[in-house]
């Protein structure tokens, strides 16, 4: 190969590399903002400490109701014995919302037949952990549910 030929080839190589670097720069400067854009920003949520669970008299023994606690549901239960309990209503198995079953007299998750007793302990089915308990106080007739410290 004559020297002039070599010079032409090397110039082409240099230009190819420059073109490649330029293309990588363009692609990178598009992909980086897009990747950052796709990740949702943190939206700070006002931390809920207590919510009202409604009137205590309206909750009959052996029944339950769901109360919104911030953006999460809480299950408020009055046991057949008349005691008030509150648990996170989010099943520890796969995030379904649980319900109180008066016929079974305990908490049940319809999605995969998970069972929790009146203490929130997982007693049957796939749930791996007990439900998180919440504190209950009475302000006259009003039930006040608060996150357990």
């Amino acid at each position: 190969m004559c020297p002039s030929m070599r010079a032409v080839l090397s110039r082409r190589t240099v230009l190819d590399r420059l073109l490649g670097a330029w293309a990588a720069g363009v692609v990178g400067s598009i992909l980086y903002p897009v990747a950052r854009y796709l990740v949702p920003p943190d939206v700070p949520e006002a931390a809920t400490a207590t919510v009202s669970g409604g009137s205590a008299a309206s909750l009959a023994p052996n029944s339950g109701r769901i109360v919104p606690f911030g953006s999460a549901p809480v299950l408020l239960v009055r046991t057949p014995a008349g005691e008030l309990r509150a648990f996170s209503a989010t099943c520890t198995h796969l995030d379904c919302t649980v319900q109180y079953r008066p016929d079974l007299e305990h908490v049940w998750c319809a999605c995969h037949n998970g069972h929790y007793d009146l203490e929130g302990r997982n007693i049957a089915g796939p749930p791996p952990r007990p439900l998180t308990p919440f504190d209950i106080n009475l302000n006259g007739d009003e039930i006040v549910i608060s996150r357990r410290a």
């Binding site: 363009v26 897009v34 854009y37």
Partner: protein
């Protein structure tokens, strides 16, 4: 890529015939070749709109109570959200500009002459769709300016005899511009128009590939007189690389505009607030908006608005059917250029008047 891998791919995805065809295809090279790039630039901008539009959909909420706030969220909270929205808004304007330049160049280079009539018709329809994209997208941030522009824009149709009320209701999704209009414009903007546009773009490109680039008659004549062929370059890779270069310029322009002049959001629309001064449509509708101001209330017993509307519709039909009206007649094509120059001058003057007098009220 190793030869074996290439053979494996080719056996399963046979593309070599297409690549060979592209290598054989040539693009003429002459002093008007620059105008060949505007169609490709419009297509590139359409691609950008599809991409950034899809990104905006991830955070945008199409309801009167949430639209403005969601756009605010995109611009203020989402990383690079301001950039994505600005690029979407700026690219929309550049796309209309490129499409208009593309159309004007086709008129002056007489590229619409047979057998490219259908290419022209599909192109004019695509331009109409582009304008419809602009009109429907304008309302989506639910800001004051867009709200009133949409009210005026949809109200124009009321001048149509008999069917006017129905058309207005149809466009607004109700009697007034409300959240129902927003939902309607949103559906049109992100589903209906993109679907139709995709089909038409495919047809347009197929026809462009089938017919090849049109040669301006003057270049054809010169080559004939000098007894030589017009110079040309291979489509692949020469023309494709030049196309990529043009696209890079567009991208750089877009990035600069979006970074230095981020698109503003304005104030949230309030249906019960009086229209603020300075309400006007996007620049490409300004000439119509300005012409309407000069229409008298009635002309020979017909409402001025109706006369203007008929004028606009007739112009549109003439443009759409241009190649069929001109046919093979060369002198007619030359006359079309004079008419085109007059129309461009009229539109330019009207647009400039509208830009010079900001906030002079609305028709």
């Amino acid at each position: 890529m190793s030869a074996r891998l290439r053979a494996w791919v080719e056996a399963r995805v046979p593309m070599q015939a297409l690549i060979d065809a592209m290598r054989h295809k040539t693009v003429p090279l002459h002093r008007y070749s620059l105008w060949y790039y505007f169609g490709g630039m419009t297509l590139f901008l359409f691609g950008i709109q599809v991409g950034t539009g899809a990104l905006l959909l991830l955070y945008y909420r199409p309801s009167a109570s949430e639209a403005y706030e969601s756009v605010q969220f995109i611009m203020a909270r989402v990383p690079f959200g301001w950039l994505v929205r600005s690029i979407h808004a700026w690219a929309a304007n550049l796309m209309v500009g490129c499409a208009l330049l593309h159309l004007v160049s086709v008129v002056f280079l007489q590229a619409y002459r047979p057998p490219r009539e259908i290419t022209w018709v599909s192109g004019v329809l695509l331009l109409t769709l582009t304008l419809a994209f602009g009109f429907s997208g304008y309302l989506l941030p639910w800001n004051e300016l867009a709200f009133f522009a949409t009210r005026v824009g949809t109200d124009l149709a009321e001048a149509v005899p008999a069917a006017g009320d129905f058309i207005v209701r149809f466009m607004r999704g109700g009697d007034d511009v409300t959240g129902a209009t927003l939902t309607r414009m949103f559906g049109v903007h992100v589903a209906i128009l993109p679907a139709i546009t995709t089909v038409l773009v495919a047809l347009h490109l197929l026809l462009v590939q089938a017919h090849g680039m049109s040669l301006p008659p003057s270049i054809e004549r010169m080559a004939r007189e000098q007894g030589r062929r017009v110079r040309s370059i291979p489509f692949l890779p020469h023309f494709v690389l030049r196309d990529l270069f043009a696209w890079t310029i567009v991208l750089a322009l877009l990035a600069a505009l979006s970074a230095f002049y981020p698109w503003q959001l304005g104030t949230k629309a309030d249906p019960f607030a009086p229209a603020p001064a300075g309400i006007r449509p996007e620049w490409y509708f300004l000439w119509m908006f300005e012409s309407l101001k000069y229409m008298p209330a009635t002309i020979a017993g017909i409402s001025g608005e109706l006369v203007a509307l008929i004028g606009f519709v007739l112009c549109g039909i003439l443009v759409l059917l241009l190649p069929f009206l001109v046919g093979h007649r060369e002198h007619a094509r030359r006359r079309v250029r004079w008419v085109a120059m007059f129309v461009i001058a009229f539109v330019a003057v009207m647009t400039m008047i509208a830009l010079r007098i900001p906030g002079e009220g609305q028709p």
